[in-house]
Amino acid sequence: MNYMPGTASLIEDIDKKHLVLLRDGRTLIGYLRSIDQFANLVLHQTVERIHVGKKYGDIPRGIFVVRGENVVLLGEIDLEKESDTPLQQVSIEEILEEQRVEQQTKQEAEKLKVQALKERGLSIPRADTLDEY
């Protein structure tokens, strides 16, 4: 049923599989069961998908209630096209390990960069020390 033509409304997305990207960087995949006027979402059979490089791993999470303001974007997943992806699914342990390794390398690179800048007397404010707004 065409609820509100010409507008963006989540009502027609209900009961469909969605991929939701949150502000903290998490990717959730679940069936959108319920919404409200603030775009708070209720996701059913949710899976948190962690991507590292070409691999990804799913962590089943159950039911999620997401506060609307924390959603960056969300999109419907085409169930037919869902399976043809070049990405490779791995186990949870493996992907968590990969993620840890990736974080580590990033941190080290960042450290080197800050060190180099410090030697030159410059400093870049780090994203996590900045306010969000």
């Binding site: 609820y3 010409g6 009961d15 995949i29 006027q37 059979q45 037919e80």
Partner: protein, 693 residues
């Protein structure tokens, strides 16, 4: 079968007891009353979905009795014991009005409970409450085949994994399958117990009342139920990894379990909003179209199910058999939709949502034009018509108590309190530095531009308002419009008490700013001929200055279009003086100077050259149109032309600007004033002949 025959008798008895009007007679309700105590939340580790305990409490004693006690109609009918006035008011305020005749929604009603509060009935199924007061709240219109899992509906996914008998293990026939409704119940539900809706939990309970033997007597039913029994599972893969064992065509199932096909159709027609006064008339047609499309899609996909991969038909199956579908009820969807629509209410849509309105107007014009040309099917475009709210004047008066001195110090949105006493102190002119003066002057110009722009937008809007207004108002509208145009012009030229406008200064200031130039281009069509000519003169007079200032913006060419339109209405006298201005020569030409910096600058600039061409072209037009025109007899014009051609010949081609367009009649113009040789020179230089590019 013996078992079958036995139960058949019971069935008749049970069926007769199905409809119980008096609630006090209803054993289920009475029992529930007894087993009322609230469900204690379990330990830390038990999930809230340990509902099996809760369910059992309700189902258990009833099942023992083997009585289908509560009928669907009980739930469906609106005759409910009064739950208290607040519930009813709640519902009536929350639910969308059935048939609203007026498309205008007034301002939202004052609520004791703020808008964000969801309607009360949306609470997590409080089973006890619902049995007690079975309001027609949660009966689902689309009657999906809900076959609650035998192992308790609301088990957490983790628990489900542990359940041994679950179908996850591929066990097709779970022992205590609670199936289907009896045919009567089903007929009732589908036949349109209209506003009846049931929550999934209620439905589960309801079907739980009907005993398993009932289903087993009909093998087809059982088969159908198992087929559609897809237990909830934690991961998607698992969930959809267990495809139903067989997929008989929907038609077979029709008498006993109406196929998903039918179910699909049904919800769609039932979800058809009766109140479509808020929506565009095309909307209804589009809804049908869309439904058709969806159905066709489903059909084609199902039809080719043999060829396509299993997952595709699987997908369609799941759509229909998703036991968790429609957790969000139609009522709730409407409620959210209503809030969203309310947010779109506006007293003046052209003010609030200008681009949206314009865009859709354009689209409609396009489609109307298309239809006129071709007799093809009219493309339906849905249009959201937002209700227009009548503008209410709120005169807020702060609360005052009698007999008290002064007012209450309460600050609200409507009555903001003055927190800071800001006093404007004007500075004396002497103290300011030159820089500040310049800056202030520029700021004043910017303010003038903004004010004039507001006037311009209003004036541009008058046409639309004119069409919308009544006859009496039109005269007043025209007057307003005229007044505004005058104001605009005054703003442009700088309002002076006297008649004379000796100084172009004000205008120049405006023209130095990019926005000002664009604005002038937009204003020109509205001005009278004299006013517009005045503007044009001023521009031509100060062209080198403007060119210099425009070097960065390069916005002057935007003025060409209105100028050219204007030119074609100007008389020859004006054209002559215009040319004069362009070349910046005094009234009476004395000995021609060797180099004319003004004209040179003009020629080196795109806008300047284009404008010159326009003027010349216009002159030529005047000349050729009427042989005895003043232009020919005007010495001034001839002199000016001589000078112009001389200058054009003199200037090196490299520095010559590239004009926007070269009018065709320049050759004939020049031919009057220069000899053959020079004409050729001019031709090549200015690329007047079309072939040369």
């Amino acid at each position: 079968m013996d078992l079958l025959g036995d139960h058949e008798e019971n069935l008749a008895e049970r069926l007769s007891k199905m409809v119980i009007d008096n609630e006090l007679e209803d054993p289920a309700i009475m029992r529930a009353l007894q087993t009322r105590p609230v469900v204690q939340p379990g330990g830390l580790n038990s999930s809230i979905w340990d509902g099996s305990a809760v369910l059992r409490r309700i189902r258990g004693p009833l099942l023992a009795q083997e009585m289908p006690t509560v009928s669907v109609l009980e739930y469906a009918l609106p005759q409910r014991p009064p739950q208290g006035p607040e519930e009813e008011r709640d519902l009536s305020e929350r639910a969308l009005p059935r048939r609203s005749t007026s498309p205008i929604i007034g301002s939202p009603p004052v609520r004791a409970v703020p808008i964000g509060t969801p309607p009360k009935q949306m609470a997590v199924p409080n089973f006890n409450q619902q049995i007690l007061c079975p309001k027609p709240v949660h009966v689902r219109a689309p009657m999906q085949q809900r076959y609650p899992a035998p192992y308790g509906e609301r088990m957490s996914p983790n628990q489900l994994c542990g359940v041994t008998n679950s179908s996850l293990l591929g066990h097709p026939f779970p022992p205590s399958v609670t199936p289907v409704l009896s045919p009567i119940q089903r007929a009732q539900l589908l036949g349109g117990a209209q506003p009846g809706r049931m929550s999934p939990s209620q439905f589960a309970r309801l079907s739980g009342f009907v005993n398993s033997p009932l289903a087993s007597m009909n093998p087809k039913l059982l088969q159908g139920s198992v087929r559609q029994l897809i237990p909830p599972a934690p991961g998607f893969r698992a969930f959809f990894g267990a495809p139903p064992p067989a997929t008989p065509p929907p038609a077979q199932q029709h008498p006993s379990c109406p196929g998903p096909h039918l179910q699909n159709l049904r919800p769609q027609s039932q979800m058809f909003r009766p109140d479509t006064t808020h929506l565009h008339p095309q909307h209804r047609r589009l809804l049908h179209q869309r439904q058709q499309q969806n159905r066709n899609q489903h059909r084609t996909i199902n039809g080719a199910a043999g060829d396509r991969g299993g997952h595709r038909s699987n997908h369609q199956e799941q759509l229909r058999k998703d036991p968790y579908a429609n957790l969000m009820l139609q009522r709730e969807k409407d409620w959210v939709s209503k809030i969203q629509m309310m947010q779109l209410q506006s007293t003046d849509p052209y003010l609030d949502d200008f681009y949206y309105q314009n865009y859709f107007e354009k689209l409609e014009k396009l489609s109307a034009a298309e239809e006129v040309h071709g007799d093809g099917p009219k493309k339906e475009r849905t249009k959201l018509i937002t209700p227009q709210v009548a503008k209410l004047e709120h005169a807020y008066k702060p609360v005052q108590f009698e007999g008290s001195l002064g007012k209450l110090t309460v600050s609200s949105v409507n009555n903001p309190r003055k927190m800071i006493d800001a006093v404007i102190t004007s500075r004396s002119e002497d103290d300011e530095t030159k820089e500040k003066q310049v800056r202030d002057k520029r700021r004043k110009t910017l303010v003038t531009i903004e004010k004039t722009y507001s006037l311009l937008l209003d004036v541009e809007d008058y046409e639309r308002r004119y069409l919308l207004s009544l006859e009496e108002e039109r005269k007043a509208l025209m007057e307003e419009r005229k007044q505004k145009i005058c104001d605009m012009y005054d703003n442009l030229r700088g309002k002076l008490p006297g008649q004379e406008r000796p100084s172009d200064d004000h205008f120049m200031q405006i023209m130095c700013i990019r926005k000002g130039k664009r604005m002038v281009a937009r204003i020109l069509p509205f001005l009278s001929k004299e006013q517009a000519a005045d503007i044009l003169m001023a521009t031509a007079r100060n062209l080198p200055f403007l060119i210099k200032k425009d070097a960065q913006d390069e916005v002057l060419p935007c003025l060409l279009s209105p100028f050219s339109l204007l030119l074609y209405h100007l008389p020859s006298m004006t054209v002559t003086s215009l040319l004069q201005q362009l070349m910046n020569l005094p009234q009476s030409a004395t000995a021609p100077a060797p180099a004319n910096p003004h004209l040179t600058a003009v020629l080196q600039n795109k806008f300047g050259l284009s404008l010159l061409y326009l003027v010349l072209s216009r002159g030529e037009e005047l000349q050729s149109s009427d042989t005895s025109t003043e232009l020919m007899q005007d010495n001034q014009w001839t002199e000016l032309m001589f000078m112009a051609t001389r200058e054009l010949l003199r200037i090196p081609q490299a520095t010559l600007a590239k004009p926007v367009s070269t009018p065709a009649n320049l050759i004939s113009l020049f031919s009057r004033y220069v000899d053959r040789q020079k004409l050729n020179l001019l031709e090549t230089k200015l690329q007047l002949v079309q072939g040369i590019r």
